[in-house]
Symmetry: C2
Subunit: 321 residues, 2 copies
């Protein structure tokens, strides 16, 4: 929600001099992305996004993200494509920070997804999983199950501050997840952050997805689990089983799940809720009071965790479909 | 630099239903404007800006600003034009806040204006002063000379915190400005905030001006004085007399100054520096620590005040031209 890096007209002209895109006609910082600074750029050749990578994204991961976006766009998945400069480079630098120019995407994110949006989200996620096949690079999921216990270690006090008694409940969750975490499921490159605000619709249909900066190699079904948490809860905290069923059914129109994947969905969804709870809990304490970028409320995911903890069968809707 | 109001896809669709602009294709919060929230909106008919007025802009002033923008655009001054809904209304509401749709402007602001940019700024300011002639509405300058002493009254401590001894110096300035403030100069609607970041250039030429939310009725020459402070100081704090001469010369290609206006420029420039010093000093104390919107440094204008205080003749370059 904020632009951290400030770029002058002169710095922009210097960057554009390496490309065949003509001069800048318009340049605006957009209030999108917490990890990066994003600018809408219009040149004599067209419209683009300029993303400047702030400290939260590791520089050594950028080639993976940019090559992945290029690969997906070339393999039929609608997403922003990085634009190469005259020497073929995708990763550039401005004001001493890494940056990339990517193609412009039209569309709007939905704030409150309908059941139809959930179905389209599932189908588009399967399209992404098809398109990533054969992508030659690999990136470990550094926010995956193995990372959760170490992430929580310094956050017990923060959890207690949120809700007395919560630390022990989370610790029990973590033990359960460690004991039951599924192994051997089909893997590939997953988006790992497939939330409604990272997906564009146009006239009710899926248009594009973006923000691949958590993409990594992990179980494909874990990507569905992240999406179930992100798309299928009502504002009152209840889990919408119809929406979830449609999200999975949409996915399966392109890539049917194996029995093992289907059986794993409840524990994967429990784990995915843990991953977002933990990063939000961390950010909650780390953000200065009065900052305009409000950290996302960790309690939203604490409530989702409670749903998965108390009724894991809810996510087993696939059986009844 | 920040979006305060968050608008959902549903709220946007509801707003657009009152216009003949088709459905939304793209909608992005832009990091522009401290007083308002601004969104770049693309519909099936074209590109627009949606401005949502936050609490700093008084609702009763909005008709003046919107009618002025419409008048200026209709009288040959390139600026954003408010778009009327089907019932002819310019002022709309979203999420309980007043808002307006205005036409999209291309161009880039310059960070470090050249002498040529200063000349173009002066010429465009005269074009604005020509275009405003005959505009039937009036708005008092609530940040004009009469307001400065009351504004400073609660800020003595803040001034001392900035620089020990400063409060007495500012008080002496205020006494001098009250005693010598020129009266009877030609009046009209002035922009009152004609800074480089409110002006777009394209290929080195003036393209458009925007942000009319300080516009008011006051001495036309005071607008030049604001611009001299905003455009003609170097980053090291020195006053660039060549740039200032060119700004005034550019202005006079369209509207020659009277002797009284020219003689008044030094005191008007001193006063204009006071106005921005005082509002920045106020905002400096009022912004919470750690906020992402950094308040502008009042010391920048303290240094400009010192220049006007010690060598008022500097601004009398017009004599030598």
């Amino acid at each position: 929600m904020a632009v951290y890096t400030d770029i002058t007209d002169e710095e922009l002209a210097q960057l554009l001099a390496d490309f065949d895109l003509g001069g800048a006609i318009s340049f605006k910082g957009v209030a999108e992305g917490i990890e990066n600074s994003n600018f809408l750029l219009e040149t004599e050749r067209g419209r683009y996004f300029l993303t400047v990578y702030e400290k939260r994204v590791r520089r050594e991961d950028l080639p993976f993200f940019l090559e992945l976006m290029r690969w997906l766009a070339e393999h039929g998945f609608p997403c922003a494509t990085p634009i190469a400069d005259r020497e073929g480079r995708l990763l550039k630098e401005v004001r001493g920070k890494p940056c990339a120019l990517v193609s412009y995407l039209s569309g709007l994110s939905v704030r409150r997804p309908s059941v139809a949006h959930c179905r389209a989200a599932g189908e588009s996620l399967a399209l992404l999983h098809e398109a990533q096949q054969g992508f030659p690079m690999r990136r470990e999921n550094d926010l995956g199950q193995a990372a959760w216990a170490p992430m929580f270690a310094p956050l017990h006090e923060a959890a207690e501050g949120l809700k007395p008694g919560l630390a022990a409940v989370i610790q029990a969750d973590l033990d359960l997840l460690a004991a039951q975490w599924p192994k051997g499921l089909p893997e590939g490159v997953i988006h790992a952050d497939y939330f409604p605000d990272n997906v564009f619709f146009q006239a009710g249909r899926f248009a594009a997805a973006f923000d691949f900066y958590f993409a990594c190699t992990d179980a494909l079904a874990y990507d569905i689990a992240v999406a179930l948490n992100a798309w299928c809860f009502e504002p009152d905290g209840s889990f919408n089983v119809t929406a979830a069923r449609q999200l999975v059914a949409g996915y399966e129109t392109r890539r049917p799940l194996s029995d093992a994947e289907r059986q794993a969905l409840p524990i994967l969804a429990h784990g995915a809720a843990m991953r977002f709870f933990l990063t939000r809990l961390h950010d909650w304490g780390a953000t200065p009071e009065g900052a305009l970028v409000k950290p996302k409320d960790p309690l939203e995911y604490e409530r989702k965790l409670a749903v998965h903890r108390s009724s894991p069968d809810l996510v087993l809707f696939g059986r009844a479909a």
